[in-house]
Structures are given as C-alpha cells and as structure tokens.
C-alpha cells in the first residue's frame, strides 16, 4: 500500500514571530519543527504496517529550503522517502493554492492513502486536507480521533467537536486527516535514526507538477490580507468569582454557548 503523508513545518514556538512587509509570516531565522499533528500522521502510517501488506510511506512537504528539516524528522520517524516541493513562486500561497500543489504531488506519486495532521498548530490551513480530497476526487475522512485501515477500506472514529461520536467508513483510495487524539508517536529506534541519513529526499518544482506559477503564490491567491494587528492573547480570559449558585449558572451558560450542553 502506498501511503503519502503530507507534512508541514511550523515555528517551534510563538515568541519572536513577526510579519514581513507583504504580511506573510516571517519565519526567517526561527527554529522550525515538524508539526505535532504530522508527527502523529507519520506514526499512524507506520502502524498500518501490521495490518496491511507492503506499506511504503512517502512524506511530502511544500515550503522554503528550511522545510527540509521537517522531512528529515519524518524520515527519522520512519517514512521511507520524501518529496520536497520547492519553488520561488510558492511564497505566500493560500489554502487553495497549497491544496492544488499537494494534490498534484499526491497524484504524481500515486497513492492508496493520503494521511495528514489536522492543522491546529498553525493558522489558516485547517481546510487544506478537505480541499486535497476534493481535488483528488476521492473520499475524505477528516479529524479522525482513531484510525483503522484495512486492505480495501478505512474507518475512522470522530466527534463533531461537541461530543457527538460517529464512525465513518470509506473505500480506498482516500484522504484522511487525523487529530492529536490518535496517540503520541513512538520514539524512533536507533536503527531507524541511522537509516534516515541514507533515505532519499527528492526536490520537485512547479514544472515537475505541471502547475502554472500564476495559479499559486501571492499572484494566485484568492484571499488578500489588508492589515495585521497584534492582539492580547486569548488566554487568560474571564475569572468568575461570587456565590456558588451564580458562578455555576455562569459556567453552564459558558458551556451552553460552546454547545457542550
């Protein structure tokens, strides 16, 4: 089974982040890491190996030269090879353009299963897995809290964010995005750490994927940013004090507002 894992490099911490004059996030010089969700996606790919035959895992990322570090981490965690989509024209791509490039790469690699983490660690890209599924015209299963892959079908467990649990099934090939609830990735064995140095990272450009540079990057963006203003962090929020009854009512209101009741 050919598994394509879409990974992404995110800043390792929030401090010191800035915006470039063109209002894209300036990541220059900041340490980047493989996003938490994608680490788990690679690990879930590995876990398939006990259930299905001949699992071959390819990690794919799109981004600047430094994004290669994310691929190295993915190889270290157990991916078999990696593809880095590197092109000057990709700078400032929005979610639609990102999904176009990633879908083209997955199609070129040929896949039975596309895995990726649900982006919660970064902004603006949370709809990308759904877009990739739509572009590839295969079933998409998103926000999987539990993943079970068989030879011909894939099953996920998920809640809708308000505690309503469902089990969804689709035939392969399919695109699955998973949440961090799937479980922490296992620590890589020494052998796989050594092996990772020998694994191949291919570099593809937009030409390789036959994508017109005008469709991606800032020129092809369907959304534009007008302004960025710093904001006080969302947390800490309200502290409620008072007698138990009124605070309990306030608490219940809060839970009802977020639809947990």
């Amino acid at each position: 089974m050919r598994v394509v894992v879409l990974v992404k490099q995110v800043p390792s911490e929030d401090v010191g982040l800035s915006f470039a004059p063109d209002l894209t996030v300036d990541r220059g010089g900041l340490p980047g890491v493989l996003s938490a969700g994608d680490r788990i996606a690679v690990d879930q790919g590995l876990r398939l190996a006990v259930r299905v035959r001949d699992v071959q895992i390819t990690a794919v990322t799109m981004g600047p030269l430094s994004a290669r570090e994310a691929l190295r981490t993915a190889l270290l965690l157990g991916a078999d090879n990696a593809v880095h989509i590197l092109d000057e024209a990709l700078h400032g791509s929005d979610a639609l353009a990102t999904s176009l490039v990633l879908a083209a790469a997955a199609a070129r690699l040929e896949f039975d299963l596309v895995l990726c983490g649900s982006a919660s660690a970064d902004s603006g890209m949370s709809a990308v897995p759904a877009m990739v599924a739509e572009r590839l015209a295969v079933p998409g299963l998103h926000f999987a809290d539990e993943l079970l892959v068989r030879e011909r079908k894939v099953e996920i467990h998920r809640d809708d964010g308000h505690g309503d649990l469902r089990v969804l099934v689709a035939d392969l090939p399919a695109v699955v995005s998973i949440t961090e609830r799937c479980g922490e990735p296992r620590y890589p064995r020494y052998v796989s750490r050594v092996d990772a140095r020998e694994k191949l990272i291919s570099t593809w450009s937009l030409g390789t994927l036959s994508i017109d540079p005008a469709q991606v990057g800032r020129r092809g963006a369907a959304c534009v940013v007008d302004a960025v203003t710093p904001h006080r962090p969302a947390r800490p929020r309200a502290l409620v004090e008072g007698d138990p009854t009124s605070t309990a009512v306030r608490l219940a209101d809060f839970l009802a507002e977020r639809e947990f009741l």
């Binding site: 877009m131 739509e134 809290d145 505690g163 949440t179 302004a227 962090p233 947390r235 502290l239």
Partner: protein, 328 residues
C-alpha cells in the same frame, strides 16, 4: 439585496451557532439558511427570529444531513444559482471540511478562524492562538467564511422566512463516506481518556476519595471521561491509569474541565492541547487560570453540585437553550 448563504448546524439549525451566523449574515445581505434536513415549524420560527429571509431544506429523498458531502452539493448548487454575497459556515470539524470542499468546487477563497465579519465582506481572523488579528478579503469567487461562532454576540432581528424547496441532483460520490454504527462497547458510558471529547479531572482541591465522586458525576453528566492529577492518583482517589499529565495520558479534548487542580508544569504539559479549558479552584493565583478560557474561583464542593443541578435543570427544560440565545 444579495443573498448570503448560511449553513445551519445540525439538521434543523436550532443551535446557537446558526443564530450567530445569521447575526453576522445580516450585515452582508439577506440571510438564506441551508438546512441539513427537512424544515420544521419550531426551527423555522427560531431562524426567522434571527433574520432568516429564506430557508432551503434538504431535498426529501437526499443522503441525510449528517453527510458533509450532501451539504457541499447543496451549497455549491445554490451558490451557482443565486450568486450570493458570501457563504457563512460555523467553524467546527464538519464546517471546516465543508468550507474547504465548497471553496475548491467554486474556486473561491476560503477564510477560516473568522471571529468577526464586517461589510465588504471583510473578515477578521484570529491567528496564532489569538495573539494577532488579521483583516482579510476574498478576491476570487464567492467568499467562503468559516466563522468561530463563540466569538459572536447573538442579536435577534425578526423576519418572516419563506421555505423554498430546491432540487439538487446528488452524484454518486455523495455516498462515498458512510456512517456506520459503532461496535457495541466502544461508546460505553465512559469513553477512553486519550480519545475522549470531554475530559473532567480532579486534583488536590477535591480533598478526599469520597469527594472525588463529584468528578466522576460531572464527567458522566457531560458524556466525558474522568481523570486525575498526579496528586489525586498518588493518594488513590482515582485509578492510576486515569492520570492526566506529562507521563500519564496526554489528552486533546474539545472541552477540559479541571476541578481543584492548581496546574503544575507536568499537569499542564498533559492537557495544553485542549480546545476549551475551564478551571474551578479556590486559589485565584493558581497557574491553571493562566491557561483557562474560563476560570471559576470557588470551592469545588459547592460549585460542582450547583453545576450538576443546573445541567440537570437545562436538560429537563430544553426551552432554556433558546432563552440563553436571546439573552446573549
């Protein structure tokens, strides 16, 4: 005035999220609600109170409102027919999926994490955990906005909605993802801690093994899993496998409730990934309050029984859910 398509949450749309979407949709044009199921009189009345001008129910022999693919087809079809000013979707797990797919189908820009919508439409997005506010516009296609509705204050504005039946030809691809019945025993009364959507934990502030029953009862009332901090498990108030911290289970629930947990480093490392964090503790300087979306300073033994009673009251009288909508 141009239409604004609003995707209803659930099958009938009588949830707070839908009312919040209608509130912002009125700023952009005439709101039209797309339902995931048939229209019912109570739902229609509620949607009308929040300004819905048109209601499009799901065609009767359709694939059902639970299917995201069916709602994508409905939105795409209606967007092609009516060329709306925007499409507004509540940013849940279903919502983000639907927004992404509609965006690809219509080749339209998608903006997620929207916390406010201004005329234009200009979307205000909250990025990097709320540390920046970004104003963005969609310049290609019909703007698709995934709105985080908990940031919107709901305001009613009565209108009389017209229910319009639409014909949508659902392609076979709509049935590609099937919902199956969970195997028995999997979704029992208490879900597993690591995959639970709601987690309630107790810490030293709970005080005793007997009082720890409060944690279990609250978890049960919210359909979640009960856990304990390092202290609670060490003292034997709850089983060791229910430990939530760096070396125990690391949880990523949608809702995390901490009862009498001060918020030590090791505990925070295990629950930082929760979407919504609520803490109840008697010490206003407890570090857990730095992480929490809502902090309650009070005695767990007094607040939690009141909360359980309040939850029971609201469950017994579902009408109240609409009342809180109008008050908000």
């Amino acid at each position: 005035m141009r239409q604004v398509l609003v995707l209803a949450e659930g099958t009938t749309g009588t949830r707070r999220a839908t009312c919040a979407l209608l509130t912002v949709a009125r700023r952009l044009g005439a709101p039209a609600v797309v339902l995931g199921g048939p229209a019912d009189p109570a739902g229609t009345a509620l949607l009308g109170r929040f300004g819905a001008k048109t209601i499009y129910p799901m065609p009767a022999p359709g694939p059902g409102g639970q299917s995201a693919a069916a709602r994508v087809e409905m939105l795409v079809e209606l967007a092609r027919r009516t060329s709306p000013a925007a499409i507004l979707i509540a940013s849940g797990r279903d919502g983000l999926e639907i927004a992404g797919r509609v965006g690809v189908r219509l080749d339209s820009g998608v903006l997620s994490d929207v916390v406010d919508v201004l005329d234009g439409p200009v979307a205000v997005q909250s990025v990097r955990g709320g540390s920046y506010l970004v104003r963005s516009r969609v310049v290609r296609g019909v703007p698709v906005l995934a709105v985080r509705t908990e940031h919107i204050t709901v305001v009613p504005d009565p209108a009389t909605p017209a229910v319009r039946q639409v014909r949508v030809a659902f392609p076979a691809g709509v049935y590609a993802v099937r919902t199956v019945r969970p195997r028995t025993g999997r979704t029992s009364a208490s879900p597993e801690l690591s995959t639970a959507a709601v987690v309630v934990t107790g810490g030293r502030g709970v005080g005793s093994r007997a009082a720890f029953d409060l944690v279990n009862r609250l978890a049960e009332a919210l359909g979640g899993a009960a856990g304990g901090s390092h202290t609670a498990t060490e003292l034997g108030w709850c089983p060791r496998k229910a430990l939530v911290d760096q070396v125990g289970t690391i949880v990523h629930p949608s809702l995390y409730l901490a009862l009498g947990v001060s918020g030590s480093q090791r505990h925070c490392a295990g629950m930082r990934g929760a979407a919504t964090i609520v803490a109840i503790d008697s010490d206003p300087a407890a570090p857990i309050f730095r992480l929490s979306d809502l902090g309650v300073v009070g005695d767990v033994h007094q607040v939690v029984p009141e909360l359980l009673a309040e939850i029971e009251r609201r469950r017994a009288q579902p009408v109240i859910s609409t009342r809180t909508v109008t008050e908000a």
